[in-house]
């Protein structure tokens, strides 16, 4: 739990944090609506957890869509392999599926 937060939080697993950071960096780029919604959906899936994850420093450097998605998929693959719980593994799998669907549409 983050002692500075007024609500209960939990630590974010390393690979999920990496994937989330990459997707947030992609959102800093000028994207088409479909790409923005697809990345947003994947992020929403990653963060669909209670208690929420601890806050982390905001991302400031943009990453282009193709590179960001590829690296995020690698991070999610690692997150699946190292997941501690059933729900964590499946959440990473669902987020990766949303990114793959977006890749197909691009």
């Amino acid at each position: 739990m983050n002692p500075t937060s007024p609500i209960q939080t939990q630590p974010e697993p390393e690979h999920l944090a990496h994937a989330g950071g990459l997707l947030e960096a992609v959102l800093l780029c000028d994207l088409e609506l479909d790409a923005r919604l697809g990345i947003g959906a994947a992020l929403a899936t990653l963060y669909d957890v209670f208690p929420p994850y601890d806050a982390r420093p905001p991302v400031t450097e943009p990453i282009d869509l193709g590179t960001g998605m590829r690296q995020a998929l690698d991070a999610l693959s690692a997150a699946i392999d190292t997941a501690d719980t059933v729900r964590e593994a499946l959440r990473a799998g669902r987020a990766a599926r949303e990114l793959r669907d977006l890749q197909v549409r691009q």
Binding site: D48, T85, V86, G93, A96
Partner: protein, 224 residues
């Protein structure tokens, strides 16, 4: 391996199917159907024990799982042992084996060691997450069946997909609004205990499971 370890392994394999795609070529359709059927069997078994929770969504999930098509047109043992033609086929065959072992671990556990109270919500959240994933993968199986010319079977998968996903999401979110402590592992019943078949209809499936368990066992006890 214990029930929790098998469930963790099953979740990782299903997550890989979600991530990499669950569509298979014609040669691997039977592996996909076997994997799907085994997971649905496991989810129904665990969910049936959890459905005592008197909340409507949880019993609705049981009904949606009961509506899921289960096509077993080849013995499970031959599917698991047969080489697959694709990565997705290999993952589905592994899912079939892992789900069968996990279901056996569940049935072989004492009632007293099964989740209760808040721990039951953890189990329900896991079952709902797996149900949602299977609902998403139903679309991949339907595509595979369509490509293999099995349109009627494909339509069955499509018809049951959206209801399962919707209810599973609702149950997963409801379960996640409260504390979800890590459930303890199950205690196995003594090996001498006979598990009674509730009806004669389960006997063919039980024999299939027995063959898989014997084939995958590391150490078999010597007969007395």
């Amino acid at each position: 391996m214990t029930y929790r370890q098998e469930m963790g392994r099953l979740a990782r394999e299903i997550a890989k199917l979600l991530s990499e795609g669950g569509r298979v070529p014609g040669e691997d359709v039977r592996a996909a159907l076997a994997g799907h059927s085994s997971v649905v069997g496991l989810l129904r078994a665990v969910q049936a024990d959890m459905a005592a929770t008197e909340w409507r969504g949880v019993t609705d999930l049981s009904q949606e799982l009961a509506r899921q098509p289960r096509i077993n047109d080849q013995p499970l043992t031959s599917i698991i042992q047969r080489p697959t033609a694709s990565r997705a086929g290999e993952l589905w065959a592994r899912v079939a084996k892992t789900a069968t072992i996990a279901e056996n671990e569940w049935h072989q556990s004492t009632l007293a060691s099964r989740p209760y109270g808040n721990a039951a919500w953890s189990e329900i959240a896991d079952i709902a997450s797996l149900s949602e994933a299977i609902g998403l993968l139903d679309g991949d199986i339907a595509d595979s069946l369509n490509a293999a010319g099995r349109w009627r079977d494909a339509a069955d998968f499509r018809a049951s997909q959206s209801g399962l996903i919707a209810i599973a999401q609702e149950v997963r979110r409801l379960a996640g609004t409260g504390p979800l402590p890590t459930a303890k592992d199950l205690q196995p019943i003594t090996p001498e205990t006979v598990i009674l078949a509730p009806t004669q209809h389960v006997i063919p499936e039980a024999l299939e499971h027995l063959a898989v368990l014997v084939n995958s066992a590391n150490n078999l006890p010597q007969p007395k």
